[in-house]
């Protein structure tokens, strides 16, 4: 039916016919999502420009959890910053501990003992499993799948139980020390660890059965949040996001630190770079991490007890028994606690492969016992940058899984 010309406005008459949909007086809607939204874990605000249900543009506003971590580290001695690094990523505190301590050790020019390195790898891989479990579990939860979330969280509890036995705390582990670890693993740890790993594997199998081939889950993830390899590299994206695009960059292989060279593990990569690939990469990484943990346990049991701290009076606090009874060690304890180690003047950067990507610490020392500058390269913040590229043109609902698999952790992103 042809409309009579007088019903059209002047502007509509001048617009070409195929453009007339614009003339329904629609305009883009601005939607504020967050900073505290039930479908996004992490405190972040999205200002989304919507055309219907399609995302035209998105502005990501971070900084709600800024608590001056970097400045706070400058207020104490070098060792006093370690508990603060626990608070960066609530899923994998040990990885942040590790990054910071290894950066300080680099400035001090210190090599840790072999047993310490195996223990560090063991703890770090457990933390990585916990992180990936939260990422995949929470993603399922936000896609309205409650059951796999509970399996994931149950497996994470088992991981945290192990960390509690090892470090004394579930989340804020405070385990890694400059030049070593807090203490050796307790005697009951290896058996508990093997038991729990078997349970975690069972739960991962259930998790896999419930979602991996479930069409609703697959349809929500497949072809959403796609980003190309080139864009990832341009933005400096690292971690599972980059590996899902098919770039096998893993600092544990690329620049092996600790004893990763002696450990047999594979690096999973994806092909397309969508959320489904990210999910599959994370699941495979968990299996690889559990493999690493088992190898560490075998090695630690085989080699038996040994030194876990470097024999260096600058960073090692003396044995407690001698502090109680002897004057020299008591004086050394007073000096170590009140002054802390003096780190030679200079600057250094050390990066480890955390669960989210490259977690680096850039430290500047002026030769005193207090850090001059502690700069943290948070993978969360940098991985969040290309998010507009991933969701532009997609539906609003695709934002949720994309954001979940970026796994922005507020504490780490905002510091």
């Amino acid at each position: 039916m042809e409309e009579s010309p007088h019903l059209l406005t002047e502007r509509q008459r001048d617009t070409p016919a195929d453009d007339q949909s614009r003339d329904l007086h629609t305009e883009h809607q601005i939607l504020n999502m967050g900073p505290s939204h039930p479908a996004s874990h992490g405190t972040v605000k999205f200002v989304i420009e919507l055309d219907g249900e399609t995302i035209v543009n998105i502005d990501i506003q971070v900084g709600y959890l800024h608590r001056a971590f970097e400045k706070e580290c400058e207020s104490g001695t070098w060792y006093q910053a370690i508990p603060y690094t626990d608070r960066l990523n609530y899923n994998s505190a040990i990885l942040a501990n590790l990054g910071y301590c290894m950066a300080v050790e680099k400035l001090l020019g210190m090599t840790t003992t072999e047993r310490c390195q195996w223990l560090r790898v063991l703890a770090a891989e457990l933390a990585r499993v916990a992180d990936h479990l939260t990422r995949c579990g929470a993603a399922c939860l936000e896609l309205a799948a409650m059951t796999p979330f509970l399996y994931g969280i149950e497996a994470r509890e088992l991981t945290w139980d192990l960390l509690e036995i090892l470090c004394g705390a579930r989340v804020t582990s405070n385990f890694i020390r400059i030049g070593g670890v807090k203490h050796d693993m307790p005697p009951e740890f290896p058996n508990r660890c093997r038991e729990n790993i078997a349970k975690i594997r069972g739960l991962l199998r259930d998790f896999d059965d419930v979602v991996t081939e479930n069409r609703i889950f697959v349809d929500r993830l497949r072809e959403t949040g796609v980003i190309s390899k080139e864009d990832c590299l341009r933005y400096g994206v690292t971690g599972p996001l980059l590996r899902a695009c098919g770039v096998p960059l893993d600092l544990r292989k690329q620049e092996p630190y600790l004893v990763y060279e002696q450990i047999d593990f594979d690096v999973p990569i994806g092909t397309v770079g969508d959320n489904y690939d990210r999910y599959l990469v994370c699941v495979e990484e968990m299996h690889q991490s559990l493999r690493i943990v088992e190898q560490c346990l075998d090695h630690l049991e085989k080699t038996g007890p040994g030194p876990v701290n470097v024999d260096d009076p600058r960073v090692r606090w003396p044995a407690k028994g001698r502090v109680f009874n002897r004057m020299e060690e008591l004086i050394q304890q007073f000096k170590s606690v009140t002054e802390g180690p003096r780190v030679p003047a200079g600057e250094g950067y050390f990066a480890i492969e955390s669960a989210n990507g490259e977690l680096g610490f850039y430290l500047v020392s002026d030769g005193s016992a207090v850090p001059y500058k502690v700069r943290c390269r948070p993978p969360s913040l940098i991985n969040l940058q290309p998010m507009p590229l991933m969701v532009r043109g997609a539906l609003l609902a695709d934002l949720i899984p994309t954001f979940d698999f970026i796994n922005m952790i507020g504490g780490e992103c905002d510091r």
């Binding site: 705390a169 081939e213 990763y260 028994g321």
Partner: protein
């Protein structure tokens, strides 16, 4: 270096089995009902298999390494073991410990804390005070239920912090076992009790 790069197994397109929804639903129901009946059987037989704990009626046993609220060790004569040296004050990253030292003239110990306050709203349970203490006087207890109705009562004074040594046996043994090491090797340098 061992290990290789593997590509994750991703099906290029969904087959008719997946498109049908039914196999996925059956598989999912099978997994969830297996969990359900497993836990039901445990519930009926009295040997609970469910992962959750009915807090506060039931509690888990924390491991030896567990770090709860820091407390002061109380000697048999009711006095704190602390000699007010102030090392925990130095070690604390959040400055939550405040010590006012006092002097004794009539005993072998010359100093004691006249006041010892810990602001538990600032404490982050890192355990550095315990590691720094040269007297085994401040230790991390197993106490974690610290909720209060007002901010003022989050500051714990000396009186509230004192815990008899006998109740802290497990933690003290842990400290003697784990912290008494020469860069990691068990030193056992002190067979006699600390003075």
């Amino acid at each position: 270096m061992p290990g290789r790069v593997i590509t994750v197994n991703r099906r290029a397109h969904t087959g008719w089995m997946e498109r049908l929804y039914v196999p996925a639903i059956v598989k999912g129901l099978w997994v969830t009902s297996r969990h359900f009946f497993h836990n039901l059987r445990g519930f009926m037989s009295g040997k609970r298999t469910a992962f959750v704990v009915q807090y506060p009626e039931e509690r888990v046993d924390y491991p030896d390494a567990f770090r709860g609220m820091p407390v002061l060790v109380q000697l048999a004569n009711g006095e704190p073991k602390c000699v007010a040296c102030g090392l925990c004050e130095f070690a604390c990253p959040t400055d939550c410990i405040t010590i006012v030292p006092g002097e004794l003239s009539d005993s072998g110990i010359e100093r004691f804390p006249e006041a010892f306050d810990i602001d538990m709203s600032r404490c982050m349970f890192c355990g550095l005070c315990e590691e720094a203490c040269p007297e085994e006087a401040i230790v991390m207890s197993r106490e974690v239920e610290l909720a209060t109705f007002d901010r003022g009562s989050m500051t714990f004074h000396k009186k509230e912090l004192l815990v008899p040594e006998a109740l802290l046996r497990r933690r003290l043994e842990f400290i003697r076992r784990e912290y008494d090491r020469d860069h990691g090797v068990p030193a056992r340098s002190s067979s006699e009790t600390p003075s």
